[in-house]
Symmetry: D2
Amino acid sequence: MAFANNPKYTGVIPPVVTPRTADGAIDIPGLQAVVEHLVTGGVTGLFVLGSSGEVPYLTNAERALVVSTIREANAGRVPLIVGANEQTTERVIEEGRAMIELGADALVVTTPYYALSNAAEVEAHFRAVHAALQIDIFAYDVPVRTHVKLSVATAVALAKDGVIVGVKDSSGDDVSFRQLLLATRDFEGFSVFTGHEVVVDGAMLGGAHGVVPGLGNVDPAGYRRLFDAAVAGDFVTAAKEQDRLTEVFEIVYTPDSARVSGGAAGLGAFKTALVELGVIGCNKMSSPMEDLNASEASAISGILTRTGLL
Amino acid sequence: MAFANNPKYTGVIPPVVTPRTADGAIDIPGLQAVVEHLVTGGVTGLFVLGSSGEVPYLTNAERALVVSTIREANAGRVPLIVGANEQTTERVIEEGRAMIELGADALVVTTPYYALSNAAEVEAHFRAVHAALQIDIFAYDVPVRTHVKLSVATAVALAKDGVIVGVKDSSGDDVSFRQLLLATRDFEGFSVFTGHEVVVDGAMLGGAHGVVPGLGNVDPAGYRRLFDAAVAGDFVTAAKEQDRLTEVFEIVYTPDSARVSGGAAGLGAFKTALVELGVIGCNKMSSPMEDLNASEASAISGILTRTGLL
Amino acid sequence: MAFANNPKYTGVIPPVVTPRTADGAIDIPGLQAVVEHLVTGGVTGLFVLGSSGEVPYLTNAERALVVSTIREANAGRVPLIVGANEQTTERVIEEGRAMIELGADALVVTTPYYALSNAAEVEAHFRAVHAALQIDIFAYDVPVRTHVKLSVATAVALAKDGVIVGVKDSSGDDVSFRQLLLATRDFEGFSVFTGHEVVVDGAMLGGAHGVVPGLGNVDPAGYRRLFDAAVAGDFVTAAKEQDRLTEVFEIVYTPDSARVSGGAAGLGAFKTALVELGVIGCNKMSSPMEDLNASEASAISGILTRTGLL
Amino acid sequence: MAFANNPKYTGVIPPVVTPRTADGAIDIPGLQAVVEHLVTGGVTGLFVLGSSGEVPYLTNAERALVVSTIREANAGRVPLIVGANEQTTERVIEEGRAMIELGADALVVTTPYYALSNAAEVEAHFRAVHAALQIDIFAYDVPVRTHVKLSVATAVALAKDGVIVGVKDSSGDDVSFRQLLLATRDFEGFSVFTGHEVVVDGAMLGGAHGVVPGLGNVDPAGYRRLFDAAVAGDFVTAAKEQDRLTEVFEIVYTPDSARVSGGAAGLGAFKTALVELGVIGCNKMSSPMEDLNASEASAISGILTRTGLL
């Protein structure tokens, strides 16, 4: 299997987590270690300031520090795709400009949120951001957070006009995902990434160009093997790797849902796994999210052992 | 690829549409023709009285007539899996009993609806239905209609105890679908079917045992080829067939959404395609749903031609 | 305050609960006692087979038994407004016909459910039901169960043409409720009832003609006092009575939400309160709903004492 | 009627719109004129940088300019309650600090958004913001934008501990609103405001201390009359004024929903009405929202005439 349309971006581009020290500061050495873990694990890019990076919880100074730290640790080895996460158009443009100055190679932009938009406004939003910034833009479709679904029609219109260079789909709508793949398959250079950790084999069978897996923080090499098998057309191997990674993904269900929020459970599990793997030293979450506790860490350690990571 | 757990049900089991004559009566010869079209097309079972069969719109007399007609037309060639579609437990049991008397080989049961249930009630519901009826039961997960998601945990508990013989998943949640596949893969005889027409290749790559495709009314042979390729491990061929079927699925987007409801659009497109294919004579919908018009039929005909069905 | 448009129905029309004996059978003497409790409490009508009557859980035989029992116990003292609760149009018509034969003075009809309708289908649905049955029809707007909101525009169109004689609003949308009141205030004979127990004073200040309170099973006389005060224009007294009833309503929050579903909590609380008040003997719920336990009954008893009912 | 608990804030506190000139800049003289219109209309406070002020669309520089302009135009006549609108805790604290420096007398804070929080995080969020800023804080409950409902239990806990001085409720949940009123009625100095323009009479009958009406930009004097009548216990007069204002509110339904988004329709109608009333010169919206057109302005003008405002 080759990608006939020469996509500019392919592969495994995990959303980098943001480690904190026990006192809540950004853990610079920890973040450097995560980058090293990911790049040596074979990732093809780094998605900086995504939801898995706790972007809504970072102050502007923290956002800048995270981007700078990752840029320096990466040292140009893979492209940096940076989230310009703000409520609406003009604020996204200002945020995007700051991210470009900090070294972003491409930007990730969501639909407006907190706002009550329609399809025309969503389309105008992306066009305005691209016109102002003139950089590669990924549309990030994440209705669980923005409460707006990026329609296939809007994505196709933006792709056709070169406004966006790709879509990162975390919509959980596999039907529209397949339709988007079909509709854009001949668009030169265009990419469609899935953001769902457990369906990468099927997504690539349908033509996806890669994955942005939060769980890729934990097992970048596993996702790279899965991607390589799929590119080679060996889907049976890809599915076996996917099955193993789906077992690893069980770590996100270990936290006690009576104590830990939906947002904190997944990200806390990724951080806790990185502690168990010895990559970082502390699983501290951004306030006011709860940290995972020792019992949850133990459950996660068990899963990592069972799936060959520990 | 073989199914290691010896599933009792596999393959392509389309939800049979219910043709009506221009005056709104059940079209008996039309329904017989649909059954012939499906069985000779290679389907491995018939899902009777599903949403695609317009079950919520049929009176009790019409439901009985539809089941009897299909049973006689099928003449035992493939199993009949019949929907026992009612609001809550005791009513489902009564409905299921009637369907068994009419010749059902297995029943399809949803979570309670119109009710405001919790997970314990959903589990108790399936247990009570199975205890009363002692027949193969598929749990039908269709939150777009019931507004309740059947959790993986509940499905696994029911499967483990032999309460259900399979799940028909129309939840649109591909993450939980994969998790269900993994959790039940060693359950002797158990089956997981996807209800989504455009992701069958990926579903089978993940281990699904078959599909319940509304679009299978239109192109049963295409779905059979897709299934057979996947079973043979030839996923590249499966994906190509899936891509073609995804194009055929575009027929459901032809109706004018300002006039035709979401419910009527898909079912109306299937019926209209069957008219275009010469299988039935009339695309009449159950009242109060709107019939598709000539312009929509023409668009559907174009898609059928483009995809090799006409 | 007078109702300038001469509404045919006004006042307090509680949705009658359905008591069961410990073995799960309909509790006939209990149901008779509830009717006596309500009619002597001053209600102006009885809403039979509503959600509070557990209608989705009753078999057809049970539904008939409930209507007959209530009709005989009521002996013509107040009108019987009976739910014709089914999925879509033709099934509602059959159900409505049965209810009329059993003695319904008027019917309560929801939007279609389990179906995926649009506004035109909803309007056609009510028109078809009225055309077939030629009886007073209340539109029941209960999106928490049907997942469709009856729009103000549709309700007004139906009201203007005499298709519906009133609306029972359980939508929780107080903005559209006020708009409906304004839009229909000059429609001769038309009624708008709120289904929300704790905002009756405000609803009547805005022009509502009455209330269908589940909690009216527990304290019919309280709701009658509230209604009478509002009709007399004494809203300060109405608000005081409403505040007391809002405290009584706390009984629905006593059940343990980890054990008891949303559906069972409210109805179980009403039944349990009726046991505490000595009206019925058993708080048994329809299967598979959980019964409230002794600790919950004790909490309910405390609230009844605190609010002057015990 | 007196407010027995001596609330610090009462009355009519409209969310001030943000006029723009035709070229998209903040319209300073227009904003000054709006402030004058409101204060002379009898409002008891100004809610600055609310949703009606298009806060998600304003850059940081624009936000500062809006607050400064309003502060100077108001010249201390009424308190300024300013929105500190950001995604999560630390960002809200930074934003709140900036607003305090710009002259805010109190802050309005929503639940976290874009985040996936639970009740504990929501409570911790408000506690952390108050601890850091030590200023009067209104909790703003607006689930249509944040997709989180502030529960009665959380609001009561925060109120009891003095973390919040009031709630602005735009939840559309009139049941929980009444329960909040009852639960906090004895809390010294605490206020509950409704954000819904058409149910102020009922809200105040239930004990609310005031209203934050977007429509108050258009008719501040009408809302003041409604408030004064309710405080005087003359609810019949209050209801009449409310009915008239509900008719005025029809302006928000004049925009063509095929062209204008939900967000733009209401705010565009307020701005257009202010143009028709001669308060401001231009109804320009923040990009990418659509401006209302001449035909929509004409419909609005008709409503203003019919309701005595023109």
